[in-house]
Symmetry: C2
């Protein structure tokens, strides 16, 4: 498990990605899908209409399926699915505690921002893993059904309420600050992730050294994507 | 929608089941699956091990799929899926409030008893609907994966702890009393359900009149099945 895998060599790059690092990223993505499941299940309960309850519960079920596809890849690579998932159990605890939403809109925006940032981070790190894994991860991460729902709901709410729009813009700025903090903590706690980010295609310099936790290029990319997402909602990032 | 449907004629019985009554039963089963989804999602969060968390979240996802199959049948019969589901929104509120579990075991047993009774009731009522609907309902209701999990967990816990066994036996008696109360309320609030139970094959006398809410044969059947289920756990009903 600690030997560099031939399959772990990213196309178009000289950097060699350790299979353990790949499993660690898979564990993160699986954990995020598992968390998304729990949150969507809560959202389904809280949703104001039966139609939204149905839709959100379907998204929760889809998150379970995506998580299991990712865990199946962990097993294929010789990793332990439960352990790879379990390594991230407390990752979002602080984030959740510090960003308790007080309304349905704040709750929707929290998911939208948190998933946006975490998915972007995983997509970037996926640039350093083997082709099969990368393809799987990009497919799982691109399933943006929940984002579409959030965009539609938030847009239609915002269209009628300027006060809401400016409140949500403020909330969004707080959320992204907290979310970027989580990325930084995750990279500090999981050197594998930092190595993958450092090894990604297009990274400043391919290296087996972890990217510094403050990697300005990474955080620039994450922030730019967040700004783009907020503007889709008509919110200033 | 109020005319008796030819498809609504149960095989081997002279009773004619109204399509609206069938839709009302489908709505109940869909609601129960929707509730099961929410509860399993909560269980997944509370479960002590990662393995159980994974398993319970998979069961939650499966409940969503079963619910959607039932709702698809509502649409096929010309009913409104959302409305049929929404008719039962408050059905289990009292039950849930009056049976707050204080331990993981009490929680598992609550699901086991509540699902057992409600599934039995729906199975009995399904005896009065058209063949296609009945087949679908029996398939959905027979998916006993969650019960197996509860049985395994409760058995292994009880094997080591006599005090727990006698506490759970007591808890089970309280649960079944509350669950039978819900059945009675549901039949009072939804005359369709009482009619279906009265029209089922093997019912004392096929009739278009609702079965009396106190239907002793029905409650005898439900209690007998409950007793059988409790004894599988080594618990005295």
């Amino acid at each position: 498990m600690t030997s560099a895998a031939t399959e772990g060599r990213p196309s178009g790059s000289e950097a060699v990605t350790d299979r353990d690092d790949t499993v660690e990223l898979l564990g993160l993505v699986a954990h995020l899908q598992h968390v998304a499941f729990g949150r969507l299940a809560d959202d389904a309960r809280e949703a104001p209409t039966t139609a939204e309850q149905l839709e959100l519960s379907r998204l929760a079920a889809a998150a379970v399926q995506r998580r299991d596809r990712v865990l199946a890849r962990v097993a294929e690579l010789g990793g332990d699915p439960e352990r790879s998932l379990g390594a991230y159990t407390r990752l979002l605890e602080d984030f959740d505690n510090r960003t308790q939403p007080s309304t349905w809109w704040e709750r929707l925006l929290r998911s939208y921002v948190a998933e946006g940032v975490s998915d972007d981070f995983c997509r970037i790190a996926a640039g350093a893993v083997d082709d099969v894994t990368r393809e799987l991860l990009l497919e799982v991460l691109d399933d943006a059904a929940h984002a579409e729902l959030a965009v539609a709901a938030l847009e239609s709410a915002g269209a009628q309420d300027e006060v809401l729009v400016s409140r949500l813009a403020l909330w969004g700025r707080r959320l992204v600050g907290e979310a970027l903090g989580v990325v930084q903590q995750a990279m500090a706690a999981h050197p594998s992730l930092a190595r993958l980010v450092g090894n990604r295609e297009g990274a400043p310099e391919a290296s087996t050294e972890p990217a510094p936790a403050g990697d300005p290029k990474l955080f620039g990319e994450l922030t730019a994507e967040h700004t783009r997402r907020m503007s889709r909602l008509g919110l200033t990032a």
